[in-house]
């Protein structure tokens, strides 16, 4: 297998250029998909026969929860690549992902709580899914705190990468928690093998929100990694040709 593309992508000037070109191609479809998905979810989708209009929180809760897991997986993978192959750009990707992932994890917990109050009768329950998601938030916060506690960037990269890699064990625990333990939280309705249990009028806006959120993450990541690259490569001569 030819790995030239991988090594090229790991080059900061190349990635800086590619990320700049990708940004509008991710941000504009993300905005359109999110606007369409939210409109479909709030206005077009019919009320749920059991949960009435409270179910509409799913259009922001499920994409936030999806991003919380995806961001951590990306962060841990990038951290592992940085540790194993000593690629600085991979550490930049991990560092840029952490605040995005943390904010969406907090959002997933908050919107879940706002949905749980009318449906379960409680804002919070020490349930396996909720508790493991809370641990995920602490892992993100721990990762960011650990990074900022070092003055030396190389040491910060390595120490925080170790934490990210160890913490990835929590990701499958969150996903399978509803099957492994008795949980108030419902099981998978969209992302399960076979057909979804949701009707198309409810499912399509949800899929639009999920895809829009994923593209939004891509756009945010491009912008944040570009900023990280500029800070890390402050002495590099290639900057003069690229910073405009």
């Amino acid at each position: 297998m030819n790995w030239t593309w991988f090594h090229r992508l790991a080059s900061p000037p190349h990635f800086y250029r590619i990320a700049g070109q990708l940004l509008p191609w991710l941000a504009i479809p993300a905005a359109l998909l999110l606007a369409g998905g939210i409109f479909g979810g709030l206005v077009l989708a019919p009320p749920d026969y059991q949960q009435s209009d409270a179910f509409r929180i799913i259009y922001i809760h499920a994409p936030s929860a999806w991003l919380s897991l995806m961001c951590y997986t990306v962060m841990a993978t990038a951290a592992a690549v940085g540790l194993i192959w000593r690629i600085k750009l991979a550490h930049a990707v991990a560092a840029a992902t952490a605040p995005i992932g943390a904010s969406f994890t907090a959002l997933a917990l908050a919107t879940g709580s706002l949905w749980g109050r009318p449906m379960w009768g409680t804002w919070w329950e020490w349930d396996a899914r909720l508790t493991s998601e809370l641990i995920l938030l602490f892992l993100y916060l721990g990762y960011m705190a650990l990074r900022s506690s070092f003055d030396d960037l190389t040491r910060a990269d390595r120490a925080s990468a170790l934490l990210a890699v160890v913490g990835v064990v929590n990701v499958p625990i969150i996903h399978f928690s509803v099957y492994w333990w008795n949980s108030l939280h419902q099981g998978a309705t969209v992302m399960k093998l076979g057909r979804s249990e949701m009707p198309a009028s409810m499912l399509v806006p949800l899929l639009m929100c999920l895809l829009g959120s994923t593209l939004l993450y891509g756009a945010l990541l491009c912008a944040r990694v570009r900023a990280e690259v500029l800070e890390r490569e402050r002495q590099a001569s290639w900057l003069s040709g690229l910073v405009k």
């Binding site: 999110l34 939210i38 709030l42 206005v43 009320p47 009435s52 209009d53 409270a54 509409r56 929180i57 922001i60 809760h61 936030s64 605040p99 995005i100 904010s103 969406f104 907090a106 959002l107 908050a110 919107t111 706002l114 949905w115 109050r117 009318p118 939004l216 945010l220 912008a223 944040r224 570009r226 900023a227 990280e228 500029l230 800070e231 402050r234 001569s237 900057l239 003069s240 910073v243």
Partner: protein, 63 residues
């Protein structure tokens, strides 16, 4: 009850649905703003460093 009022009432769950959407909008806006600000700051600092380096070099060219 008009259609708009019915929509805003969210079947009696307005006090849960609308704060959730407000939080979502705030998190999205906060993420976009902070990513834009980080990139803008990094770019400004890089330009400042390049200008300082150019001023220090004997021929005045950018290194």
């Amino acid at each position: 009850m008009s259609d708009v009022e019915r929509f805003l009432a969210m079947g009696g769950y307005a006090r849960f649905v609308w704060p959730a959407y407000a939080l979502w909008a705030a998190v999205i806006a906060g993420n976009v703003w902070s990513a834009w600000r980080a990139l803008d700051r990094a770019r400004t600092r890089a330009l400042r460093r390049l200008a300082a380096r150019a001023a220090e070099s004997p021929d005045g060219s950018r290194a």
